[in-house]
């Protein structure tokens, strides 16, 4: 009952009410209250995430799993940031100031650690994309060739060079210039492909949501079905 029936019931009722709130007037309150509940659960989920992380890494340290010294780094960094943030340590405006106020420890954790680390992680991708371009993108067949040609036109067309390269084209043929071609690809062929994908995925979401609300689809509860 608690494991299956009650959750399915909650899901159905909540989902059904929100669909009703969309199609009928006078359900604004239901819509905003349920959204608020969801937002609060989403906020609590971050606490759950932190708790899980802490438990996992402490476990790794305790059992001396491979790489456990690094787990100590994670635990210390986590606790430092958490304490700095929850107690607003070093916050010049005291409790009423925003948690990320200049000069606070939490702000230091963001500015000196979080910010550069996340930004650099993503900038690594520039290198990978370069080496993938060189070593993996081969015009192996018609499909891959189309992909590569479109990519090359876009890459050139979205910079100044594309225009310069085809500036010799006479006026009546200017529609073939690289910037025009790249804009054309984006707003016609790309649009068509993206729209087909969006409609397809949209139908997938509609069908899954419908099955969830009706209690047919229950794999989100984890484990095998009864």
């Amino acid at each position: 009952m608690i494991r299956v029936t009650l959750p399915v019931l909650i899901t159905s009722v909540v989902g059904f009410l929100l669909v009703i709130a969309f199609f009928f007037r006078g359900f604004d309150r239901v819509n905003s209250d349920l959204s608020e509940y969801f937002n609060i659960i989403a906020a609590v989920a971050f606490i759950l995430g932190g708790g899980n992380l802490l438990r996992m890494h402490l476990d790794k340290v305790q059992r001396r799993r491979p790489g456990w010294p690094y787990s100590i780094v994670t635990v210390i960094a986590f606790l430092f940031t958490l304490i700095a943030g929850l107690f607003k340590v070093g916050n010049s405006q005291g409790w009423t100031g925003p948690v990320e106020a200049q000069g606070s420890w939490f702000n230091f954790a963001y500015d000196a650690m979080f910010n550069p680390l996340q930004a650099t992680m993503f900038s690594l991708l520039a290198f990978f994309v370069a080496s993938a371009s060189y070593r993996a993108f081969r015009a192996r067949n018609v499909e891959a060739t189309l992909l590569l040609v479109a990519a090359l036109i876009i890459l050139l067309g979205r910079t100044f060079v594309g225009g310069v390269l085809t500036s010799w084209l006479p006026q009546p043929l200017q529609f073939l210039s690289i910037p025009n071609l790249s804009n054309w690809i984006m707003s016609t062929v790309n649009l068509a492909g993206a729209r087909a994908i969006i409609i397809g995925i949209g139908l997938g979401v509609i069908s899954t949501s419908l099955k969830i609300i009706l209690g047919i689809e229950r794999s989100y509860l984890g484990g095998r079905e009864s």
């Binding site: 159905s12 659960i41 500015d111 690809i185 949501s209 989100y220 509860l221």
Partner: protein, 228 residues
């Protein structure tokens, strides 16, 4: 430069270099920086969720005097007892951390999934299905104001491209004969849009690298002027 920002700049620059060292090969500096990131980011999300959502939207509404020490502006608002419901669900969710009661967290998951299913159903129906059909309905002959060959060709490409792309995603029919040829054209259309996505992704990654290099440049030019 004062000590605080100077220190921030140095820590930031060193961590940047540690991550970049991954390009040479996996190494202890990279792993240190990576694990530091995991810890800081988890706590960061948790702290911000606590101060910006749980305090004002949950406790600040449930019983405003409770948050008076951080949000004095709300202290005089009337309490909203109905907020006990999300509080209860929040506590249920946290029971996931206690193995014996872990299954109770399903109640909170159920509410969240019901919310997503209920809202996604109608929003996707509206924005990603119905409106997309509506936006595709356009005259196939374009005049501006005289007959435009280019415009007509583009309009045809959009409509036929969308249709053949949809045909490619048809599963309950064998892709043979005319149907197969349309689906073939559909995959070509999809490939061109993947090409566009590829070009744009390359653009994005390069931009991020440029931004990072600017920061490193600032460190090289300003970081060695010691605070004094």
């Amino acid at each position: 430069m004062t000590l605080g920002p100077w220190l921030e700049m140095w820590v930031g620059a060193l961590l940047t270099l540690m991550i970049l060292s991954f390009l040479y090969r996996d190494n202890p500096f990279y792993r240190f920086a990576e694990h530091l990131f995991v810890g800081v980011s988890a706590a960061y999300w948790m702290v911000e969720a606590f101060w910006t959502t749980l305090i004002p939207n949950l406790f600040g509404k449930l019983y405003p005097p409770m948050v008076a020490f951080v949000l004095p502006a709300l202290a005089k608002n009337p309490p909203q007892i109905s907020r006990i419901i999300p509080l209860l669900f929040g506590v249920l969710l946290l029971l996931r951390l206690v193995p014996r009661f872990a299954h109770w967290s399903r109640m909170a998951m159920a509410l969240a999934i019901g919310f997503s299913a209920g809202t996604n159903l109608v929003r996707y129906l509206e924005s990603d299905f119905t409106s997309q059909i509506g936006q595709s309905i356009r005259p196939l002959v374009v005049t501006q104001p005289g007959f435009s060959l280019g415009g007509t060709f583009s309009a045809l490409v959009v409509v036929l491209g969308t249709l053949s792309g949809l045909v490619y995603f048809f599963f309950s029919r064998e892709h043979k004969g005319a149907f197969g040829r349309v689906s073939r054209f559909g995959i070509y259309v999809l490939m061109v849009s993947f090409g566009a996505a590829f070009g744009y992704t390359v653009m994005a990654r390069i931009s991020l690298l440029t931004g990072r290099m600017e920061i490193l440049g600032r460190w090289i030019t300003h970081g060695f002027q010691f605070p004094g």
